[in-house]
Symmetry: C5
Subunit: 99 residues, 5 copies
């Protein structure tokens, strides 16, 4: 998985029928310090992620192992919202109460 920040949303009406009802989020990967880094990806949302949140997304066939995405043509899914991460014992990110 990669840690990424949810930076936006993508809207599509003309799509494969199986995708009906899925939300597509624009996510930008971050580095260990939480700085945005790398190219944006679009991930289906399985956990109710919101704009500005740090999330984990899984890719490939693993992206179809959530209840929301089973058997659907998606190759990236947000499967967890990140509360906190530490590097060598030091907190690098802590979700704020109001985010």
């Amino acid at each position: 998985m990669l840690i990424a920040k949810v930076i936006g949303t993508v809207v599509s009406t003309q799509k494969e029928p199986a995708l009906e009802g899925l939300r597509f989020m624009l996510c930008r990967p971050v580095n260990a310090k939480g700085e945005e880094s790398g190219a944006v990806v679009v991930a289906a949302d399985a956990v109710g992620a919101g704009l500005g949140e740090m999330i984990l997304y899984a890719t490939g066939s693993s992206a179809r192992q959530t209840i929301a995405t089973e058997n659907r043509p998606v190759d990236a899914v947000i499967m967890a919202i990140v509360d906190q991460w530490e590097v060598e014992g030091e907190t690098k990110y802590l979700k704020s109460e109001d985010s």
Copy 2:
């Protein structure tokens, strides 16, 4: 998934029989601003995408989860045509009426 722009088509007559009837589109990924970015990929079309449209494509085994591509040897599929995307509340792309 990645957002990409459909920039062309690829024609093949000598191919694996299971591919008969599929359209192959040349797609160039774009960044969050909609600028072309990165190397072109060839994706099978599951949704009737046209030249110049912004689309989402899925890769890997997920590319075989559409009605058009099931059990076929394709590793990238256009599974949605993009109407609009927003980054931090700002519209970065809006499909024009006549495209």
Copy 3:
């Protein structure tokens, strides 16, 4: 899929038994203009591709969806020989009669 040019062949006698009879081709990806670009890959041949031809190859589990590669440990397969491609209505590649 990626478009690539077949530039060579790879010979192996000591290999997984299931690979017996498969041809392995050295392929170099090309860009939208047909210029060689990126690192070479070795793909199993499912369609009778020849040296110098432009082909499409699929990767991952999709590489096992051809008759030639089913259930075999290959992660890239040539599944189509390219006749022609166009970018924004302009022909960028057209297979010559004698190739």
Copy 4:
């Protein structure tokens, strides 16, 4: 697989239910000399890996082939803790007794 060093942990409470009980580790790939190299990834832990240890992680559908990760939406798993590696007969890494 890639060799990586476990450099941290990621905590998530709001996540896909199937992920309950899995530990997520921040891992940084290393080169053949053991120097940190490349972007961090988050891998599920199947073997009880600890901070500072060198590990192997597997990605894609293979990441779901451990007892801990079967049928779960994870695309990277720590499936081995590295004791030692050699390059051309020379030991490049040897786990210390107290690590």
Copy 5:
């Protein structure tokens, strides 16, 4: 698949039980001329590859299609030892008798 040179071995005792008995080889990809190129990967050995040999390795779910790796959490497998390869009719690599 990629062509790579076997440059070393990785030893692990604490690992997923299903991995028992597999050998892990450090492999460095090479370019079409046989020059080492790109980051090392660790691949399970399905064919009895030795130090210094040129091999083909397959990744992803295809890495589980050998007798040695079926249902095991490995994402890269050596499935062939390379005898020779040619680029545009010119031999670029020929295994020596004593290697």
